[in-house]
Symmetry: C2
Subunit: 335 residues, 2 copies
């Protein structure tokens, strides 16, 4: 690519139904000049997340993405010029760079990252995905040794780590994923005790067989029908860590929530708790230390799904929403 060019992918229209390639357009912009307090970044790896789609519905924990602007998204980038104290050329940072080669971003919105190899781990196990799994499971779900933990979207970036941490904490772990291959991978490669293929139908019964003692912690990435199937199988004083609702993101959100809310929450004394990883960032160092030790000892396997080329980001996100990926999906923008 030409250094003088800044390829940018715009969200040209917010989808009312399913997200498609027609909602994006690539343009050539100019490389911005960093203003006072900003750093000019060259994007290395762009994170793809189900949440990218949720942002199109309106304001969430962040402002909505708007049509005809550069699509928002987090990425790992290298500082190429800086007008901010504390950041120098060559530094590696994480931030909302958007889908483009270069971005000028305020330093206060950037997190300086350690230089480690492979750099992709900064977006997977040591990034939002890994920390979301860590804090959501341990600080929200709070599983005890011997309890049954169920996680949905179990082959995804967060779910695959949730299940492995739950195994490290001596829980019985059941993953819910789409397709035989993913389920096989969960049990044979990642050490899950059982896996339920939700595309196979009969999720409720399959879950009953896979979790015969009921569910103590349900780490919910999907919402919808799978949450509804889990609710009646929760044990008394069970905890549901509400991490996302990927089943609701792509298309028109459901007009209804899951049956059993709030009736089952009352009689089973359940806690359903939403969380956002940013709320736990004051405890990031301790979490990273745990994650690094588990990766080093081989207890935690890191699965990444790296796709080359910024131009492939729209198709890669659309595919992620359809459940194509295994582990953390990202775009290699520039190696």
């Amino acid at each position: 690519m030409s250094e003088a060019n800044n390829r940018q992918i715009l969200l040209v229209e917010k989808p009312t139904g399913r997200l498609g390639p027609e909602h994006f357009r690539m343009v050539n912009g100019s490389i911005p000049e960093p203003k006072e307090g900003e750093a000019l970044l060259r994007l290395r790896y762009l994170s793809l997340d189900a949440a990218n789609r949720a942002w199109m519905h309106g304001a969430t924990y962040r402002a909505a993405v708007e049509a005809n602007t550069v699509m928002s998204g987090g990425g790992i980038a290298e500082v190429v010029a800086s007008k901010a104290s504390g950041l120098a050329p060559g530094d590696i940072v994480f931030g909302d760079t958007g889908w483009q080669d270069y971005a000028a971003v305020q330093a206060k919105h950037l997190t300086k990252m350690p230089k480690l190899e492979p750099m992709t781990h900064l977006l997977s196990v040591y990034g939002i995905a890994g920390l979301t799994a860590y804090f959501g499971l341990l600080h929200v779900g709070k599983p005890k040794e011997g309890e049954t933990v169920v996680v949905s979207a179990a082959a995804g970036s967060v779910g695959s780590i949730v299940g492995q941490i739950a195994k490290i904490k001596s829980c019985r772990v059941v993953g819910i994923a789409g397709g035989k291959d993913k389920c096989h991978w969960l049990t044979n490669e990642l050490g899950f005790d059982a896996a339920v293929d939700y595309k196979d139908g009969g999720t409720y019964k399959a879950l009953r067989s896979a979790a015969p003692d009921g569910i103590d912690v349900y780490f919910d990435n999907v919402g919808g029908d799978i949450l509804e199937a889990c609710l009646p199988q929760m044990n008394n004083r069970g905890r549901i860590a509400c991490c996302g609702a990927i089943s609701q993101y792509d298309g028109v959100p459901s007009a209804h929530g899951p049956r059993g809310v709030p009736g089952l929450i009352v009689v089973k004394r359940l806690i359903m708790q939403g969380f956002i990883v940013m709320d736990f960032m004051d405890q990031r160092d301790a979490a990273l230390a745990d994650l690094q030790s588990w990766v080093a000892s081989g207890k935690l396997k890191v699965q990444e799904d790296v796709i080359d080329g910024l131009e492939n980001a729209p198709a890669a996100l659309i595919g992620l929403l359809a459940g194509e990926n295994r582990g953390k999906r990202m775009i290699r923008v520039q190696a």
Copy 2:
């Protein structure tokens, strides 16, 4: 009434739709002989609760009530004979006596009550209703000074106490109730800051006006549409104390839950927590001390709705489910 007689109200059939008088029948039974470990009780006051109806749907936190047995229900009773250590004739106890004049109940299922006047307070402010309000609000909802607390079924036995405790804790308090009279009573007599009449339509907008800064704690007694109206108005890190779902009890339970679950739970980092007062009974003495001091100082007004005659229990429960009562409804069986 004849001392030799034990009037009993049977649940002759479990309703599939709305509860009606045809589901009950009064019979004359005999006064039971207490077995070893049991006390023979003469019922004084019978508690009527929305939960009585929920028990007919199946097992909850207790076994389901069964057709052609004496209807279950809690009451305040006097010990008339005892084959249990620790209980003597004249003692006053609370327990699941069922809807009858006399019951033989195992002592381990009875709670000895203090002798205070009026005795009805043992079923209202110092009974399950008051303790449910106390623990649910303070230990589950955890309101902070200045926060906005919304409570539904606000004119009911629990809700009317929840709102008053929230005022004692310096919160802004909004009650949701059915009808102008109840709403007027909440604001003019009980000191609520605002009340929303859900029978007036437009609950969402009325709530927005009544709670312009959003909702920090929602104490949910009703579930259904009102829960759905509250969810989008919750502030970040808000807490929903799930106490009951009276809107779902009488008739066929809804096939769906409230829209926004789990999406809004995630983005707003909400906690929805179900609870049962029995789980807090180890802290009962401290709670009663607080409640007694508030009643003594006039900060907490006690509203009771006492109906005479065991034979009126079916109609009184049916009316409670329709929202007839203000404050704690109970039956005076024998003064």
